[in-house]
Amino acid sequence: MSESPLDFSSGSARLVGGRCAACSAVIFPLRKRCVVCASTEVSRALLPGCGTLWTYTVQRFMPPSPPYAACTPETFSEFGVGYVELDGVVRVESRLFGDPETFYIGMELKLVTLDLGGEPQYAFAPLDAVGLS
């Protein structure tokens, strides 16, 4: 269960999910058994890189660390969290990059990577966000 949720094989970051041959569910993250029907017929599937914001909140206080990445009250800054609907196939929970005051339901977003130390993490950012990949 510790596999990275990101794939860089095509040069740019993609989210790694799964598609279940038994019940056709698209799941995230990828796991051996389907979370919907428990079948083992789950194949690796790269998820769409763009989507729309379905709901969101803002994490205003520092989450307990661990499990949160190494952080202190001095280095912590608030961040958005939301569910991003990807092409009508699945809604993925994600950190949101950008100013929380500008978020709205239905906002268009793209996948980016986030450096919290250690393995790269994923986030979604507004389409016009620059300097991100």
Binding site: M1, S2, E3, S4, P5, G17, A25, I27, F28, P29, V35, V36, C37, W54, T55, Y56, T57, V58, Q59, R60, F61, P63, P64, P66, P67, Y68, A69, F79, V81, G82, Y83, E85, G88, V89, V90, R91, V92, E93, R95, P100, I105, L114, L116, G118, E119, Q121, Y122
Partner: protein, 384 residues
């Protein structure tokens, strides 16, 4: 399905709040002693017990304080449904005829601040915690945000819910936060998980609650008992693709919350419909949860909440009083104790013993509901 009548004959509570120097187990044992005294029974009369906490120890070790009578005592560790699950266990033992007298206890003592959980303990990958997603308040913020969007609810209603909680708690000597706050103060307080402010969210806390139950036939041995009948007690977990706590992904077509299934089954088994309920205690982890859970449990329609609260329907003197003791918002959340606190309050109200916060017109039926991570709910129907 016809079940033999099961009666709650004793209730006990350790005040909620912060109690330096008192352990969670001691609070649980305190509640047990009060429940036994209320029932007119001794610990040695109890034939089966179940109970637990989320993070404050094993319930069965409280025999050190109550007496090692050798009774079967089941430890329950089931998140926010710990109390409800323990109650279901005792209820089933009583209806099956395995015992005549049973006891349920729940307690907890959490440190300040958000709950700390390990992703691996929740069937989740480690990166979920590292990324900062292992925080329950995020779920509640996101769920109510979408619900408000879909059903036309505005932020002032969230403040109204919390305002009611603190006003009810003013009249409850066992509550933690007993100071009334204006809707403006609540709305303008520090934002914690948008759109939820500090005073809209409950805080992890401390407390204990216990119930003594018996089979109907046993009541003849308790001439002073004022029984309140447990008409049903139902526990349910989540379905695939539902919108629940700690969900890395959701389906496009969402399954209903486990609260929907638990409430439906509880009403069906009780033979009582939601419209016949006189008083309700629903999980108010935060203001929005109270609004959503009323609809999920069938006590109102989606979107009807604004009008319901505007006309005071959920007030102590309203058509459907909700969270009459101040709920989790004013009592705090000692996870193991909250579900049983709701039943304690409902029994008090149905007996007519709730003092300054007594619901008028002699309520006959009550309903309680808990919900928690990772998608578990327990519902109970009670009647005089």
């Amino acid at each position: 399905m016809t079940c033999p009548p099961i009666a709650i004959v004793g209730i006990g509570l350790h005040p909620f709040g912060r109690h330096a120097g008192v352990t969670g187990l001691e609070m649980g044992a305190h509640a047990v002693r009060f429940a036994l005294r209320d029932a007119g029974l001794r610990w040695s009369d109890v034939q089966f017990a179940a109970g637990g906490s989320s993070s404050s120890g094993n319930a069965d070790t409280m025999v050190a304080d109550l007496g090692a009578t050798g009774l079967p005592f089941l430890n329950v560790h089931n998140g926010c449904a710990t109390g409800g699950s323990a109650l279901v266990s005792v209820y089933n033992a009583l209806t099956s005829g395995a015992c005549d007298v049973g006891l349920v206890v729940g307690f907890d003592k959490h440190p300040r601040g958000a709950f700390t959980e390990r992703p691996e303990d929740w069937s989740l990958p480690g990166w979920y915690g590292t990324a900062g997603l292992m925080v329950t308040t995020q779920f509640f913020g996101m769920k109510i945000r979408r619900y408000m969007h879909d059903h036309g609810i505005d932020p002032p209603l969230l403040a109204k819910v919390a305002n009611k909680a603190f006003r009810n708690a003013e009249k409850n000597e066992n509550a933690w936060r007993r100071q009334a706050l204006s809707e403006e103060e609540i709305l303008n307080a520090r934002m914690v998980s948008d759109p939820l402010t500090q005073y809209m969210l409950c805080s992890p806390g401390e407390g204990g609650a216990a119930l003594v139950l018996c089979r109907g036939e046993y009541l003849s041995r308790l001439p002073h008992a004022r029984p309140i009948y447990l008409r049903s007690a139902v526990l349910r977990t989540r379905q695939p693709q539902s919108f629940d706590v700690y969900s890395p992904a959701l389906g496009i077509e969402l399954s209903p919350s486990p609260s929907v299934a638990a409430a439906r089954a509880a009403f069906e088994r009780a033979g009582v419909g939601p419209s016949e309920i006189d008083i309700a205690q629903v999980q108010d982890t935060e203001s929005g949860a109270e609004l959503i859970h009323l609809a999920e449990c069938g006590l109102c329609e989606d979107g009807e909440q604004t009008e319901l609260y505007r006309r005071g329907a959920t007030e102590i003197g309203g058509d459907l009083p909700v969270n009459t003791d101040g709920g989790c918002i004013a009592n705090g959340e000692p996870i193991g104790a909250s579900g049983l606190r709701q039943i304690y309050e409902t029994v008090l109200q149905l007996r007519g013993d709730a003092g300054d916060r007594q619901v008028p017109n002699k309520p006959i039926t009550g309903f309680t509901h808990v919900y928690g991570a990772p998608g578990v709910s327990a519902c109970v129907v009670l009647a005089r």
